[in-house]
Chain length 218, copies 2
Amino acid sequence: MFKFAFYCKKMITKKHLQILGKAEELFATRGYEGTTVRDIADAAGVNLAMISYYFGSKEKLLEALFKERMSATKQRIETVVKNDTLSPFQKMEIMIDQYIDRVSEKQTFYKVMLCAQVINKNTVVLKLLKELKLVYATLIREVIEEGQQTKVFKNDVDVVMLLTTMTGTVTNMLINKDYYREFNDQRKISNTAFEEQLKSNLKKHLKQIFKVILGYES
Amino acid sequence: MFKFAFYCKKMITKKHLQILGKAEELFATRGYEGTTVRDIADAAGVNLAMISYYFGSKEKLLEALFKERMSATKQRIETVVKNDTLSPFQKMEIMIDQYIDRVSEKQTFYKVMLCAQVINKNTVVLKLLKELKLVYATLIREVIEEGQQTKVFKNDVDVVMLLTTMTGTVTNMLINKDYYREFNDQRKISNTAFEEQLKSNLKKHLKQIFKVILGYES
DNA sequence: AATAATTAATTAAACATTTGTTTGATAAAT
DNA sequence: ATTTATCAAACAAATGTTTAATTAATTATT
């Protein structure tokens, strides 16, 4: 007899995504260990046993979250890098814009990701993180080498250092957002207006830095 | 009768520091919630009950750790900023060097701190973090304004953005260190040599960035 | 189309561990 | 003689996971 469940064992339904979304929020505010499966079940409005039923275990739920959220990332970068109509310069700027928009859009997950990079335990999550970093660095190196050949970029560029400044600045801003707002006294403007302002500032800031490190003229 | 314990209730003995050190290591690798008081007691080689006896509770131990590690930070920055023999330019460069050396020296704690900034719960820790950030930003702004008056620095400098790039790059490198080493194929050199190399690279990198953002000429 | 058969979804309760903390007794230090 | 430090044991509460029963949904058969 044909077993549908066998072939689609890892199929993600809407209910899966609903639970993952609530779990993500809790992980971001309380941490993985600080969140109980009862918390997740309550937040998602499902019975406690459904977590094990849907994901197998709390740990596999975490893995599922990372797989889900990181699934399209690689393709997104590749689309830019492999686009022949774009110059290396354009590719770098688009990459900065894309990254900032992405983090802004998926703030909760990037908080979870940040902690996961420090508190490393789950091998599946570690593998996903490592792979993503390697893909990122390799693709960006391609772009930089392309720019170096056309004499647009400097010859000695520390790729990972540059990427670390980009990801570090953006993820750290995620943490310091409130202080940024308070310090610059932007408490009066609306939340959405502030978010847009911040994104704009970050993009300008990082592009200025990239310009210097890569050595191109605008 | 004279009560020594009353006046020195919060006195930190060598045993306190020993336990704090082991707890710090565990928090950095497993997270606060992921670490049990039994783990800490075992690692420190003391009886389980001693943790409560010395610190009152697991949470107060965390607070004690933050208080201990952050105690001298404010003074360290102030010493540089209030030093009249240094130019604003020199102050900024010293601050970068100091920060990188400090994070490199206390890597474990900065990992704990990074997670604590995301997973905020303990009010004492939150207050310490907030105060430190405000002190930092305020002092740096003083230096920048000093440099602006003598026309050494540009007039429109986003202080918190600049600080975010510094702390973000350094703390993110803490997380990406292994990838950095692997990607640049520096696996052959010794650990200490790599650490020194990395510190040197970070300092050079951030000074270059600061130079552009602040607009001074070297 | 109606009904039986089968699979999937949901639930409350129970399970065995693990958790942070406390106790009360004993040893060490003052 | 009094305080301080240390310990094994016990405590209740919380934890992730499983069970067994029930309901809902789907598929197969008449």
